[in-house]
Amino acid sequence: MQGFLHQLLSGLANGGIYASLALALVMIYQATHHVNFAQGAMAMFSTYIAWALIDTGFSYWAAFGLTLLFSFLAGVTVERIIIRPVERGPALTIVIVFVGLLLILNSLAAWIFGYTIKSFPSPFPSTAWYGSKYLSPHEVGMIAVTLVVLILVFLFFRFTPLGLAMRAAAQNPVSSRLVGIRVGWMLAFGWGLAAAIGGVAGMMAAPIVYLDPDMMSGILLYGFAAALLGGIDNPWGAVLGGFFVGIMENIAGAYVVGTELKLTVALVIIVGVLVFKPAGLFGRTLVARV
């Protein structure tokens, strides 16, 4: 029973990271109907920037804040410069551009920082009072941080004029223009926000999975699974999906398929959802006009 509880809670901690990535994916999908295959690579690059800042001497939370700022600006820039020209193109073109972005980010990280695996500090000391036999202090911190981020994002979208405008631009770009909203910039800010959230996920994951250019690819897959499970156009679903996938991964890994096949759980979820219920558990079924 203890073991089960441990897996459950630890899965919840991992789930926070998947939930953050899934939220980033859904935010971009809602506004553009594109799935950002490069989300993991962007998160990885942000984490490297944080590492570099800490290495230079910044305190952890200062580096954290600067990294968020950097990620936001980078996300806005990527959307305006790289994605904008091909936004309305066929699906294949968009996928190829995303893959290209992924490759460039990977190679940039490897070129600047090298391939050697680096350790990344956790701001939650291993002897902290909130640790227990079920959850390490870092895992507790992970859950706390992701919850704080998710709550802040919710408050932003619900109660600020800019958040409202971004929601409107995602739902109905035509009407948004009619009330004077610059839809193009709303999309860019959405990308920026998604990039910042991804950065948080990366910085939370890095102390556990260590920092190398490939660190986020497995996590990204779980993020996809979570986003699809919750409904690719539903932010709440993404968050719930993330926690669910985290728990599922641990339970299945411990009791069903063994730890080596954990990623296959993500594969099964993805293919299963796509084949049997593409709208996910909470998403809206899209009816395409003939």
Binding site: H34, V35, F37, I82, P85, V86, G89, A91, L92, T93, I94, V95, I96, V97, V99, G100, L101, L102, L103, I104, L105, N106, S107, L108, A110, W111, Y115, S217, G218, L221, F224, A225, L228, G258, E260, L261, K262, L263, T264, A266, L267, I270, V271, L274, V275, P278, V290
Partner: protein
């Protein structure tokens, strides 16, 4: 006053005399002759490299058929490559089947697997299919490492096999014989692909890609075509994988990471994703770029791949073949002047 002689430049003149298909026949013959002489002109290691080029070309030809001609996006063809490779390796390891017979078996298995994967894929469009195939690619190395299949797959260590010797006592060393073996398969499969894609089948595939609803209303059995295309595409890549196993005499799970699937996509796009000859250009690209680029930095090949993909999408989505066609039509005096209003 100067008199302008009505002289068209030599290249244009020649181009006008030969019809386009004659040009192509000449080019193809020249390439085939070069391909046959090649192993005797270069050293052993380079021969293996060109064998790998042929193998990659076949793998990407499979991807082109599916994604370029039929519009079904696959980010997971590395998985079929792996299936083909492991089929050959397991058969060579556990049974007495000779190496040359394992290739068609691998092809048949991949044909079936691809078709079966194509059935649920029918419900997926565009990026959703890309997601599903990506998941497949990421999961493949894990599945291959799984301890449950250890007896067959050799687990993390993989399987080592013997290299084939030239048949009938031909005076060829192993490298050269493998090259010709790959060449034979390549020529055969290209001819089959060409016939498939130029005829009714090809038109049906392209119709499904561009106007799926219209295709259905015109009586094309879209579901059957799409699943079969998946199967045929997987078969090509599977055969390539099988030849790859013969070439490297070794398979292991780490030989088939997700990056392999991405490399195939890069090669296809760079060469021209909706073309047969593009696959060969792409194969040359992904085989030789790392050689040159790694002198600069280990990260350089990825950067080149990424920049090529994005650059091509902006400038020439049809890839290298598109560039050649563009130049060719300009030389022939076709195409629009820069000021013409296309609308």
């Amino acid at each position: 006053m100067q008199v302008m002689l009505n002289k068209t430049p030599p290249i244009e003149a020649v181009a006008h005399r030969l019809s386009p298909s004659r040009w192509q026949c000449l080019a193809i013959t020249a390439i085939l002759v070069t391909a046959c002489i090649l192993p005797f002109a270069i050293s052993g290691y380079h021969v293996s490299q060109f064998s790998q080029v042929l193998i990659y070309a076949l793998a990407m030809l499979g991807l082109n058929i599916l994604t370029g001609f039929n519009g079904q996006i696959s980010l997971g063809h590395g998985a079929f490559y792996a299936i083909g490779a492991y089929t050959t390796a397991i058969l060579l390891d556990k049974t007495g089947i000779p190496y040359w017979a394992t290739v068609p078996i691998a092809g048949a298995i991949c044909l079936g697997t691809g078709f079966l994967f194509g059935l649920p894929a029918l419900r997926l469009e565009g990026l959703y299919l890309a997601l599903a195939t990506l998941a497949l690619a990421v999961a493949t190395p894990q599945i291959l490492k799984c301890k449950g299949f250890d007896y067959w797959t050799g687990g993390v260590q993989g399987i080592q096999v013997d290299s084939p010797a030239a048949p009938f006592g031909l005076p060829l060393n192993t490298d050269r014989w493998i090259y010709y073996f790959c060449l034979i398969w390549t020529v055969a499969l290209v001819i089959i692909a060409r016939n498939l894609l130029r005829g009714r089948t090809g038109r049906a595939l392209i119709a499904i890609r561009d106007h799926p609803l219209a295709a259905v209303t015109m009586g094309v059995d879209t579901a059957l075509y799409k699943s079969l295309t998946f199967g045929v595409s997987a078969m090509y890549t599977g055969i390539a994988g099988s030849l790859g196993a013969v070439l490297s005499a070794y398979v292991s799970p780490d030989s088939f990471p997700v990056f392999l699937s991405i490399k195939f996509l890069v090669g296809s796009v760079v060469g021209g994703i909706a073309s047969i000859s593009g696959a060969f250009i792409g194969a040359l690209f992904i085989e030789f770029i790392p050689n040159f680029a790694e002198h600069i930095s280990k990260a350089a090949p990825d950067a080149i791949y990424g920049i090529s993909l994005i650059g091509l999408m902006y400038l020439m989505p049809t890839g290298a073949i598109g560039i050649f066609n563009f130049i060719g039509s300009r030389l022939r005096g076709e195409g629009q002047s820069p000021n013409a209003n296309t609308k």
